[in-house]
């Protein structure tokens, strides 16, 4: 289990390793063809700032060699906003008095139709954590409803036990995204005071359970803004490196979501809660390029949390998949577009517009890069 490795590391020591990296460390990291975790620490350090353009060039070259001039597109399908957890940064948090909604079969169908009409073949199913109403049977039913219409099904839901994952994979589940949010235990407890999610250990061992269940792809990430982004990213890289060695048949993707403002329903109506800037654009580019230089074959995904201008520019710098036209509320595409979103979208352009942006950047938008016929399914 990853926790055995994690316990050998100490947050403060890692922070110091990153903060004390020198220009020499950065240059050494840049000159290598295969990079270590220590190299990664140098590449995300303040000392690497003057080398950003060199990093960007290397990142672009490595990405094109491995992934070609292509960009995958996917969209989230929010199935439910019911949630028993309290997460301080999320609009679905139990203590936010919004109306709760879980899509019924015909509503899932209509939302799916809308996504298909936009051209999507890769869908990401998203829920909160409400095991009574949105447990494994509900998710399994949703996969069955969607698997003949989408080439690739991924999900971002509550962490599950290994047999449940094995069960869902046999139904057609390809990818699971499970972000640790933060690897800092104190910060994790502070931001997740209540619900099953309060267990740091259960969450951090989720990718192990997924690997043991034989999942095709795991998405990892830290929610940037909860703790120091550099240290959190080091631990994300450590986690990735461990998983790649341990579950070598599984593919991995990384996300780097920055905290976004959310709407909170209080006594005086809807209020926006803003978390301020946790990381500059320049720092996020540095992180994207550092991930690429560390792992030339990992998929890097960028959501509509980021601004159009930023997304348009980083397409060329190492990203391999984008979402577009996303709605982060259940029923958000057609069933009930006005309901409250999980977080505010920054890039509201349609999938067709994003596809045009990708083409103008000299890349091919890829809508389909998987086929269920490649999996052994029980039907």
């Amino acid at each position: 289990m990853f926790t055995d490795l994690l316990n050998q590391y100490d947050w403060a020591t890692v922070s110091r390793l990153i903060d004390t990296a020198t220009a020499t460390d950065v240059e050494r990291a840049l000159s290598r063809t295969a990079r270590t975790l220590t190299d990664f620490a140098a590449l995300i350090s303040p000392a690497a700032r003057p080398y950003l353009d060199v990093m960007a060039r290397q990142s672009q070259q490595l990405t094109q060699q491995r992934f070609g001039k292509t960009m995958q597109l996917y969209a989230p399908l929010y199935l439910s906003n019911e949630c028993q957890n309290i997460c301080t940064y999320c609009a679905f948090s139990l203590d936010n008095k919004i109306r709760r909604r879980t899509l019924a079969d015909d509503e899932i169908d209509r939302e799916a139709d809308a996504l298909k009409a936009m051209g999507y073949d890769h869908v990401l199913l998203v829920t909160g954590e409400a095991n009574q109403t949105v447990g494994v049977p509900y998710i399994k039913n949703a996969i069955r409803l969607l698997r003949d219409r989408f080439a690739h099904i991924s999900m971002e839901v509550q962490p599950l036990d290994q047999p449940a994952y094995a069960d869902l994979i046999a139904e057609g589940l390809h990818t699971v995204l499970v972000y640790q949010e933060t690897y800092n235990r104190d910060s994790y407890q502070l931001h997740h005071p209540k619900g099953k999610k309060a267990s740091y250990r259960y969450r951090i061992e989720t990718p192990d359970r997924l690997g043991q269940a034989g999942i095709y792809k795991i998405g990892l990430g830290a929610l940037l803004g909860l703790s120091d982004w550099r240290t959190d990213s080091f631990f994300t890289a450590l986690h990735l490196d461990y998983l790649e060695r341990t579950y070598w048949k599984t593919r991995y993707s990384l996300s780097f979501p920055r905290l976004r403002p959310i709407d909170v329903l209080g006594a005086s109506g809807v209020q926006s809660r803003d978390f301020g800037q946790c990381m500059t654009d320049r720092e996020l580019v540095q992180l994207i390029c550092a991930y690429r230089l560390f792992k030339p074959d990992v998929e890097l995904s960028l959501s509509t949390r980021e601004s159009p201008r930023f997304r348009d520019h980083v397409i060329r710098l190492g990203i391999t998949s984008l979402s577009a036209g996303s709605k982060t509320n259940p029923g958000g595409y057609v069933v009930e577009p006005q309901s409250l979103e999980q977080f505010e979208i920054s890039d509201e352009r349609t999938p067709a517009e994003i596809a045009a942006v990708i083409r103008r950047a000299g890349y091919e938008p890829v809508w389909k890069d998987w086929d269920p016929t490649l999996m052994t399914l029980c039907r």
């Binding site: 060699q65 790649e244 074959d297 086929d371």
Partner: protein, 258 residues
């Protein structure tokens, strides 16, 4: 001047450059580059296409009469999955030709020899023309030949790496003892690598990344076409032997003639 044509199973090829269809910046550019390459056999990943759909954007650009499709099973992890996917590919693309790819490792995409041999055995029995992607392992090539594959496709270096013929010594052994065509697949990053493989006696090469990711894919495709032809011409013309041992002016064995 033309080179000898290449025969694999029931088909004859005048071009010895096989190509891939991934990684291009647009399907239009892919088509132009593949036409410039003169390639008559192009691989298509099942996962990238809507196999039953004639309007599929990739397939629409691969309709030139001289271009034969070679569906590949990229994405499968076991022999069982490969056989299942192959049957669907045969039905949807109306070809019994198959590039058998089983790489359970998604990072380096290195082929699994055990699963590949198992799948090849079964697919041949099912009537497929099987071209397996494999490591440059001479024994495995012979085992595959024994189960009836139509050609073998050993790698030059890790796929997409553009590193050239890092497995040179093993490719030489494979070529010297193979009774089926040998297609060097993966890792060919420059026309000079392709020419070197052809001079070595490979029957064909398969190139994708080096063409798709070039600044000018059409020009690069043309360069590969010429390199493959040059390499083959040189092979057929019989290269002079090379020697790293200088011929001494006073041979050590001169006393025998005294």
């Amino acid at each position: 001047m033309t080179t000898q044509s290449l025969r694999i199973a029931d088909r004859t090829f005048s071009s010895r450059l096989f190509t891939g269809t991934g990684k291009f910046s647009s399907t239009g550019q892919m088509e132009s580059a593949l036409l410039a390459s003169g390639s008559e056999l192009v691989t298509v990943a099942l996962k990238r296409i809507h196999a039953g759909d004639k309007a599929d954007d990739t397939l629409r650009h691969l309709t030139a009469p001289h271009m034969h499709l070679l569906p590949n099973t990229s994405g499968v992890r076991t022999a069982r999955e490969a056989v299942f996917a192959a049957q669907l590919a045969r039905e949807a693309l109306e070809t019994n030709w198959l590039k058998l790819e089983i790489h359970p490792d998604p990072r380096y995409l290195l082929p699994d020899p055990i699963e590949t041999l198992k799948a090849a055995d079964e697919l041949v029995r099912l009537g497929f023309v099987v071209l397996p992607y494999i490591h440059a392992d001479p024994v495995l090539c012979k085992r595959l030949e024994e189960v009836g594959v139509a050609a073998v496709m050993p790698l030059g270096s890790p796929i997409g790496s553009n590193k050239g013929l890092r497995t040179l010594d093993f490719l030489e052994i494979i070529i010297s003892q193979s009774q089926v065509p040998v297609v060097v697949d993966a890792g060919i990053g420059a026309p000079s690598h392709a020419a070197a493989a052809m001079e070595l006696g490979a029957d064909a090469v398969l190139v994708n990344t080096a063409i798709a990711v070039a600044d000018n894919p059409v020009q690069m495709a043309t360069a590969f076409k010429l390199a493959v032809e040059a390499g083959r011409l040189a092979y057929e013309a019989r290269l002079g032997s090379t020697s790293s041992v200088a011929v001494a002016s006073s041979p050590l064995t001169a006393f025998l003639d005294e």
